[in-house]
């Protein structure tokens, strides 16, 4: 699922891919109403767009000063992953883009390569941040010619050719051994299964992906 993630209390943030605006989902998901009006967004994304997936940065592999921040993959007028705080704002949430002391943005990843097209950032079960890089020169709503020489020759019809998948983790922090942790969560010391796989590992693991899988 792209552009829907929740925090460690199950509160969801839903993103509008094209504008990269992000909203708290509770006020938007009540009974259907034809007169529904717009809802304030969680943060001002400073004109960066669009979003190709988002994630809460919660992982034992990441430094403490990043925990709980929000990121999304931005592919047109900013090529990278900006970071935002998400704080309580009365009933809802309000956040701000992370900035350096001189006011410049303090992004997670930022490229000067206009063809860097990050997609679908997710913290994996190993605690590292995984994302695709679509690495295509062309982007848009078919304003370009099919014969444009910049078009990726491997791009067939609507199938997007992922040039690479990136695994990004902290050098001095160990990644979690996925298999060992998974097995320990559902077996006893004699190697016998004790609970259904998946039931225990959500509780002691901070990564959201386990909850995402559990809640389907």
């Amino acid at each position: 699922m792209w552009c829907y993630v929740f925090n460690n209390w199950g509160q969801g943030i839903v993103g509008d891919g094209t504008t990269a605006n992000h909203a708290w989902d509770t006020p938007l998901s009540g009974a259907q109403f034809g007169g529904r009006t717009g809802l304030n967004f969680v943060f001002n994304n400073e004109g960066m767009r669009p979003a190709l997936g988002s994630e809460f940065l919660v992982s034992r592999n990441f430094p403490d000063n990043i925990q709980g921040q929000f990121t999304y993959a931005c592919v047109i007028n900013m090529n990278g992953l900006p970071r935002f705080t998400v704080n309580d704002d009365g009933g809802g949430f309000h956040g701000d883009r992370l900035k350096n002391a001189d006011g410049s943005p303090d992004d997670l990843i930022r490229s000067t390569d206009k063809h860097f097209r990050p997609a679908d950032p997710q913290i994996g079960p190993d605690g590292a941040l995984w994302f695709g890089d679509w690495a295509n020169a062309l982007i848009g709503h078919m304003q370009y010619s099919q014969r444009d020489p910049n078009r990726d020759p491997l791009e067939v019809a609507s199938i997007v050719w992922f040039t690479r998948v990136v695994r990004w983790s902290h050098r001095r922090r160990s990644s979690e051994n996925l298999f060992r942790r998974f097995w320990n969560s559902c077996a006893n010391t004699n190697g016998e299964l004790t609970t259904a796989p998946g039931v225990n590992c959500t509780i002691d693991r901070p990564q959201m992906c386990f909850r995402m899988w559990l809640r389907g």
Binding site: N8, W9, G10, Q11, T18, T19, A20, N21, W24, T26, P27, S29, G30, A31, Q32, F33, G34, G35, R36, T37, G38, L39, N40, F41, G47, R49, N77, D88, D89, G90, G91, G92, K114, Q143, Y144, S145, R147, D148, P149, V199, T202, I203, R211, L214, R215, G216
Partner: protein
């Protein structure tokens, strides 16, 4: 769960995790749910109300439990309760929603209460107008009045917007009539400004206000266009695209296409900016040259707004009659 002590710092979070696991397996323990609804941590209570709302069809006294949570001290829990109550189309649930306005204003709770009431207007409207709903707070009146105004202006605009947003294109005459009717409607410019900030500032701004200039600056737009033209530009951005925002496609004699904005041009060559670099193309080499009509503004934008929001946005844009010095 059994070994978990109430003084464990993670007590509320772990019990909430247990509820999610139970919910995913369709095995909710009603006693655990009732207990987490009264947890110390407001985020745990909010999560429990969310679960209760999503499972309300299989929980016998869900409405009574939601009504109790609608009086919670924390606005996040109340927002969840308002969402849950919106699914109950009976007068008791709607009265409980109205009663939530007796708490201090909170943007998120108010939005959710208002939309819950909006979705169920036919349930409470008669009783409200007849004065049968007792003990209303002053803010209930404000919220309901705003809601009924919006539903009235939205109801007038809706058929015209449906004509314009129809999947099957309607005849031009019918479209023009609809756009004329929409440009004659009176909206609320202040609310329209909020709609503009939320929906348009990714590409537009007015003067030095909030927003970007990927598209035209809309200061003085009412001096340049009448209301009909403003409506038309939002409904169908491709009809009239300012020269500066049109892209040109040039195919040279060797069959190579280049698309971009014309930066400069003389008798001998054209300079085209394709988003990355400026390319010089000799006029003698040009096989074909087309100025594209396509605007980069998304079509169908009005379909993402409430009808009343469209009317308010047009009122706001129609009031931008500042004098702007030509650049």
């Amino acid at each position: 769960m059994k070994g978990l002590k109430a003084d464990d710092p993670e007590y509320d979070r772990l019990r909430t995790e247990a509820l999610w696991i139970q919910q995913a397996h369709h095995q909710l323990d009603p006693d655990l749910l009732a207990a987490v609804l009264k947890a110390q941590t407001f985020d745990a209570r909010a999560a429990a109300v969310r679960i209760l709302s999503d499972e309300h069809q299989s929980i016998a006294d869900a409405q009574a439990m939601l009504s109790a949570s609608s009086k919670d001290a924390h606005p996040r829990v109340r927002t969840e309760a308002a969402r849950g109550l919106s699914f109950f189309d009976n007068i008791e649930a709607q009265t409980a929603l109205l009663a939530m306005t007796s708490f201090p204003a909170d943007y998120w709770v108010d939005y959710t209460v208002q939309h819950g009431l909006g979705a169920n207007e036919k349930i409470w409207r008669g009783d409200y107008i007849a004065g049968k709903i007792a003990d209303l707070s002053p803010r209930a009146g404000e919220i309901v009045t705003k809601l009924m105004e919006a539903s009235k202006s939205g109801a007038v605009a809706l058929p015209f917007l449906q004509t314009l947003m129809s999947q099957q294109p309607k005849p031009e005459e019918e479209r023009n009539k609809a756009m004329t009717a929409l440009s004659d409607l009176k909206g609320d410019a202040n609310r329209g400004r909020e709609v503009f900030v939320r929906n348009c500032t990714a590409c537009h701004r007015v003067g030095n206000g909030e927003g970007r200039e990927f598209g035209p600056n809309l200061a003085g737009v009412a001096k340049r266009m009448n209301k009909f033209k403003i409506v038309q530009s939002v409904v169908d951005p491709n009809v009239e695209v300012a020269e500066k925002y049109r892209s040109t496609l040039i195919v040279t004699k060797d069959g190579m296409p280049t698309a971009g904005l014309v930066v400069s041009e003389n008798d001998v060559e054209v300079e085209l900016f394709d988003g990355k670099a400026v390319r010089k193309i000799a006029k003698a080499d040009i096989e074909e040259r087309v100025t594209q009509q396509q605007s980069s503004m998304p079509e169908g934008a009005p379909a993402t707004l409430a009808p009343s929001e469209f009317v308010d946005l047009m009122e706001y844009l129609g009031s931008q009659n500042q004098d702007v010095a030509p650049k």
